[in-house]
C-alpha cells in the first residue's frame, strides 16, 4: 500500500460522503485487480479516476455501481452498503459504460420509455429535454440499429440520466463522441455537480479529468498510487 493510499484511509463511513470505500479489493481467481482501495467522494463533486488499460479503474466503477461485489472490504454509496442487489444504490445512480444496454430493434423513444418504466420514472418532458440537449430529438423515432457509434454514446448518456440519479458513474464516456458531443458532456458534468450531485469519472484522458474534476486518483495495478485535490480525507 502506498503512503498516499494509507494516509487517505477514511476513519468513518457514511456522513456527507456520496461514496465511501474502505480497503476494497477485487480478485478474479488468483489475479488481484483491485487491492485495498479506500476513498471518499463528497456530494456535489466530481472525482476523476485515471489509469492505464487494465489498471483496475473500471472494476472500481463497477463495484461502486453494484455490478460487481468486492472480494473484500466494505463501503457505502449514497448511504447504502455496496454489493450486488442493492436497489437503493441502483435507483439513485446512473451508469455509462462501454455497452449501451439499448435494444437495437426498438427506436430510441421506446428504449427511453422502457428504461424509464424500469426505474419508475416515466417523465416525457424530462426525456424530451434530454433528447433535445443531446441532439437526438429528431432521430428519436429511428431504430437504434441505424445509429452511429457517437449517436449510441449520446443515447447511452440520455438513458443514464432518465431517473435523475444522485450519482453519475461514467466509465470512459468521451470515447466515440465528436467535439460537439464532448463539449456537451463536459457541460453536463459541470451542470450536474453544480446542482449538488456527484460524478465518478473514469478516464485515461488526464487533461479532461483535470478540466472537470475537483479531485482525482490514479490507479496502477489495482493500487491507488496518486491522489490530487483531497483535503483531510475527502475529495474537496
Amino acid at each position: 500500500m502506498s503512503e498516499l493510499h494509507s494516509k487517505h484511509t477514511p476513519a468513518t463511513l457514511g456522513g456527507s460522503q456520496a461514496v465511501c470505500l474502505q480497503k476494497i479489493s477485487k480478485s478474479f481467481g488468483f489475479r488481484n485487480v483491485l487491492s485495498d482501495v479506500s476513498l471518499e467522494v463528497r456530494h456535489g463533486t466530481c472525482l476523476a479516476v485515471y489509469g492505464h488499460n487494465g489498471a483496475g479503474k473500471s472494476t472500481l466503477a463497477r463495484i461502486v455501481s453494484t455490478q460487481w461485489a468486492p472480494s473484500s472490504g466494505s463501503g457505502e454509496v449514497l448511504g447504502h452498503s455496496i454489493g450486488p442487489g442493492n436497489r437503493e444504490i441502483r435507483a439513485a445512480s446512473g451508469w455509462v459504460g462501454d455497452q449501451s444496454f439499448l435494444r437495437t430493434e426498438l427506436n430510441l423513444e421506446e428504449n427511453l420509455l422502457f428504461f424509464s418504466s424500469l426505474y419508475g420514472a416515466v417523465d416525457a418532458e424530462h426525456s424530451r429535454a434530454l433528447l433535445e440537449k443531446f441532439g437526438l430529438y429528431t432521430r428519436r423515432k429511428d431504430p437504434v440499429s441505424t445509429y452511429s457509434q457517437g449517436m449510441i454514446k449520446r443515447a447511452n448518456l440520455i438513458r443514464s440520466l432518465l431517473h435523475h440519479p444522485e450519482l453519475w458513474i461514467l466509465d470512459e464516456p468521451f470515447g466515440g463522441l465528436d467535439q460537439e458531443g464532448q463539449a456537451l458532456l463536459k457541460e453536463c458534468i459541470r451542470d450536474y455537480t453544480s446542482r449538488g450531485r456527484t460524478v465518478l469519472l473514469v478516464t485515461h484522458h488526464r487533461e479532461i479529468g483535470e478540466e472537470l474534476a475537483s479531485a482525482s486518483i490514479e490507479i496502477q495495478n489495482g493500487f491507488i498510487v496518486d491522489e490530487v485535490g483531497f483535503d483531510g480525507g475527502g475529495a474537496a
Binding site: Q67, R90, Q99, L102, R103, E105, L118
Partner: protein, 233 residues
C-alpha cells in the same frame, strides 16, 4: 413499479422485440415443421407407421425446438449488455425471470399450435374432440420447460458459442419426469403407440395436469429465488 405492473411491462417489451425481430417463433416453427415433414416422408404414407411414429415425432419436435427458442430468447438479453441494464435497474430480478418465462411460454405455445395444425394435416389426425386436452397437456408441459430452461439459459448463454449445446445437455435430464408424464398422458390422446405402453397405463388428463403443474410450481419457485443470484454472480 410494483411486481405485477413490472411483470406485464417486461412481457410487453419482450413481445414488441419479438414482433420486430420475428426470430424466435419463426425459427422454432420452421424447425418443428421440418422435423414433422421428415417423419411424414419417412412413413411413406403407411397409416400404421404414421400412427406409431407420429406422436413421438410430435413431442420430439416440441422438446427440441423448445431448446432453440430458449437459447434465442435469453441470448437476446445478452446482446449489447442488455442484461446488465436490467441488473442495474432497481427491480426484483425474480420478476424479470417470471416475465421471461411467461414470454417464452407464449412463444412455445404459438409454435405448438402451428405444429399441431401441421401434425393434423400430415398425419391425418382429425380428432377435434381431443385438441383441447392436447393443448392443455402442451400448455403445462411447456410452462415447466420454459421455467427450467430460462434458468439454465441464464447460466449457459454466457459460455463460449452461446452455450446452446450445454443447454440441450442439461435440460433434458431435468425435464425427464415431465417428459415421461407427458408421454403417459399423451397415450390417452394418441393411443398406446406413443410409448408402447411401457410407461404404464395412460394417465388421465386431470391427473397429468395436476402432477405437472406441481412440478412447474417447483421449477418456477426455484427459478424465482435462484435467478437473481445467478445474474448477480
Amino acid at each position: 413499479m410494483n411486481g405485477p405492473a413490472l411483470f406485464f411491462a417486461l412481457i410487453r417489451w419482450d413481445f414488441l422485440r419479438e414482433l420486430r425481430r420475428k426470430e424466435i417463433v419463426l425459427n422454432m416453427s420452421l424447425f418443428a415443421v421440418l422435423m414433422l415433414t421428415i417423419a411424414q416422408l419417412g412413413t411413406s404414407g403407411d397409416s400404421v407407421a404414421m400412427k406409431n411414429v407420429g406422436p413421438v415425432f410430435f413431442w420430439m419436435a416440441i422438446v427440441f425446438t423448445g431448446t432453440v427458442g430458449l437459447g434465442q430468447s435469453f441470448a437476446a438479453e445478452r446482446e449489447g449488455g442488455r442484461l446488465t441494464g436490467i441488473q442495474l435497474a432497481p427491480i426484483d430480478l425474480g420478476v424479470f425471470y417470471l416475465a421471461k418465462v411467461a414470454a417464452t411460454w407464449v412463444y412455445m405455445m404459438l409454435m405448438s399450435i402451428a405444429l399441431l395444425g401441421v401434425y393434423m394435416l400430415f398425419f391425418n389426425f382429425m380428432r377435434w374432440d381431443l385438441i383441447p386436452s392436447l393443448l392443455c397437456a402442451i400448455g403445462v408441459f411447456t410452462l415447466g420447460y420454459s421455467g427450467a430452461g430460462i434458468i439454465l439459459s441464464s447460466m449457459t448463454t454466457a459460455l463460449r458459442g452461446g452455450g446452446e449445446i450445454v443447454l440441450r445437455i442439461l435440460i433434458l435430464p431435468l425435464m425427464v419426469p415431465v417428459i415421461l408424464l407427458t408421454l403417459m398422458a399423451s397415450e390417452a390422446t394418441f393411443g398406446e403407440q406413443v410409448a408402447g405402453g411401457i410407461l404404464g397405463p395412460p394417465l388421465a388428463l386431470w391427473k397429468y395436469t395436476l402432477t405437472v403443474l406441481s412440478l412447474d410450481a417447483i421449477y418456477l419457485t426455484t427459478g424465482y429465488l435462484v435467478f437473481p443470484k445467478i445474474i448477480e454472480e
